[in-house]
């Protein structure tokens, strides 16, 4: 089966769990900006958590499915329609052959994920199907364009047969093009578009080199997401931060979450397409579990940082991973049940 892109939306790309293990030759991770929403969308259709899906930014695409498909939406509160019917997020949906999925604006959040059972079946490039837009790398090395045809794999066989049949019956009896499962995943632990929530970060290697006022401002002042933020980084506009004195920098590793301070004083929190190395002071590091909350902020949204220590951050990371593993088990069981 395949999906045809009728209109691409603002910035829609194929993303998966990312490209790992090639940093030594300058290849970054790429992959989903909101890793958790990608994993949840995939879990809802029986895919592997890091399978290739669509990452949709701010305004969605219009897509046509040439055969029946099982899909799920996770992440930002995106307006989704199939014909006249509004489509829910956080639950599996069966779309009939020929139906059009019309994804519009987002009320809250910046990135939504559309997973298709069987995943997007493009050949992996250097171990991943994700699009590194900045490096023009991936099987689809650019954002989607109108007319693109995305091949999809076969629906994972055993995972959702009961549900699949039930949703087919629902389509038939109602003479509808789409039917959603009667249950849904509770998104509240995973998706929080509230801009009041502080983003937790540990102090970076060069935090101590900031002047006293900038040290206070980093973990106290309000920043706003800059309009020219992208998949490489989130520009944090506010009162500019300054070093107490210039420091000699030697290029060293950077990762997603690294907050760098270029000479202009506007910090940049690196995200999915973080370069493998960088030469700016590393003043903070957003913790892994809060990165999705940062990447769901929209241009103009407020960001405040709260300091946390590394041991605490790692404990919370391990807790999150245990919770996701439990949820994955629950959903696997759920997909086998008739409703």
């Amino acid at each position: 089966m395949s999906v045809r892109v009728l209109s691409p939306g603002l910035l829609t790309s194929v993303q998966d769990g990312g490209r790992h293990g090639c940093g030594a030759i300058g290849i970054g991770r790429a992959g989903a900006m909101d890793e958790v929403s990608l994993r949840l969308a995939n879990m809802l259709v029986g895919n592997a958590q890091g399978a290739a899906a669509l990452e949709i930014t701010l305004r969605g695409p219009r897509l046509r499915f040439d055969t029946d498909a099982l899909v799920a939406l996770a992440g930002a509160e995106i307006d989704a329609r199939c014909g006249d019917e509004s489509m829910p997020r956080w639950r599996p949906i069966r779309l009939r052959a020929g139906s059009e999925l019309n994804l519009g604006g987002m009320r809250r959040g910046a990135r939504a994920y559309l997973a298709i059972a069987g995943s997007i079946d493009l050949p992996a490039v250097i171990g991943s199907r994700s699009t590194d837009i900045n490096a023009a790398l991936g099987p689809m090395p650019r954002p989607l364009a109108a007319g693109d045809e995305l091949p999809c794999g076969a629906r994972p066989h055993s995972s959702c047969d009961e549900l699949w049949k039930k949703l087919e019956a629902a389509c038939e009896t109602g003479n509808r093009n789409a039917a959603a499962a009667a249950w849904s995943l509770d998104p509240s632990p995973w998706f929080d578009a509230s801009t009041a929530r502080p983003i937790r970060a540990i102090a970076g290697t060069h935090f101590e080199h900031l002047d006293a006022e900038s040290q206070r401002a980093l973990f106290g002042a309000e920043f706003r997401v800059g309009i020219d933020s992208n998949r490489v980084g989130c520009r944090l506009e506010g009162a500019p931060l300054q070093l107490a004195a210039p420091i000699e920098m030697v290029s060293a590793g950077t990762v997603s979450g690294t907050v760098q301070l270029p000479p202009g004083g506007v910090p940049i929190a690196l995200t999915a397409e973080a370069p493998t190395t960088g030469g700016y002071p590393r003043i903070a590091q957003v913790i892994a579990i809060d990165l999705p909350h940062l990447t769901q902020r929209r241009p103009g949204d407020v960001v405040r940082f709260a300091q946390i220590d590394l041991a605490d951050a790692q404990m919370r990371y391990l807790e999150r991973e245990r919770a996701l593993a439990r949820l994955s088990e629950t959903l696997r069981w759920r997909l086998h049940q008739p409703w």
Binding site: G26, I126, I287, A313, L318
Partner: protein, 244 residues
Amino acid sequence: MNDIGIEWLGDRALLLRVGDGIDAESNARVHALAKSLRAAELPGVLDLVPAYASITVHYDPRAWGDAGSDMPPSERLAARLSALARHVSNSATSDATDSARGIVETPVCYGGEHGPDLADVARLARVSEEEVIARHGSGDYLVAMLGFAPGFPYLLGLDSMLHTPRRANPRTRVPAGSVAIGGAQTGIYPRELPGGWQIIGRTPLILFDAARNPPALLAPGQHVRFRAIDAGEFANLQALSSRT
């Protein structure tokens, strides 16, 4: 190596620091340490990224957690890495770089349309363009690290006379294969990119191709020597490399 510094790069990566500068000695220590870390095949280590004087270790904290201990995964991994580093001798460093995949001879067409900044580099160094070509072309360069873009090599070993500041106005498009100078470093643009380095020539070799294995022509720790070619040979080699 007993004087390894550890910096936390968030909760899924840490940085091992073996020196403070851009110099061949620190960089040789980086490659020796990276080699033994790779050989150790530590659990949960997802990537090792060597830079001038440091190595970034990407890891999965789940592989280093222990419910029966208060020690966080970061500390447990750091202790293991420090112990491994102590067994890497500084004298083994030259061995690690020399035994890397040999010397890569890189043909370069200097000046003209392929090297628009050659005249500026010569003027700033107060030598002739021929002297710049002779000095740049006779160096023995070490691939200190790759970064900035996939396959972009930062080369150590530039003749100090050729150290040239970056351009005041970076170009929005630098052609693939451009050989350039930025401060004390020289490098090669693997594909068309924006860039502020001084472009003195261009190689017909393809530095990066995602469909090739390995995708990058150069690896950290390798050596590079340049060979000056004329525009005719450049065109011939370029035709050859685009066919394969």
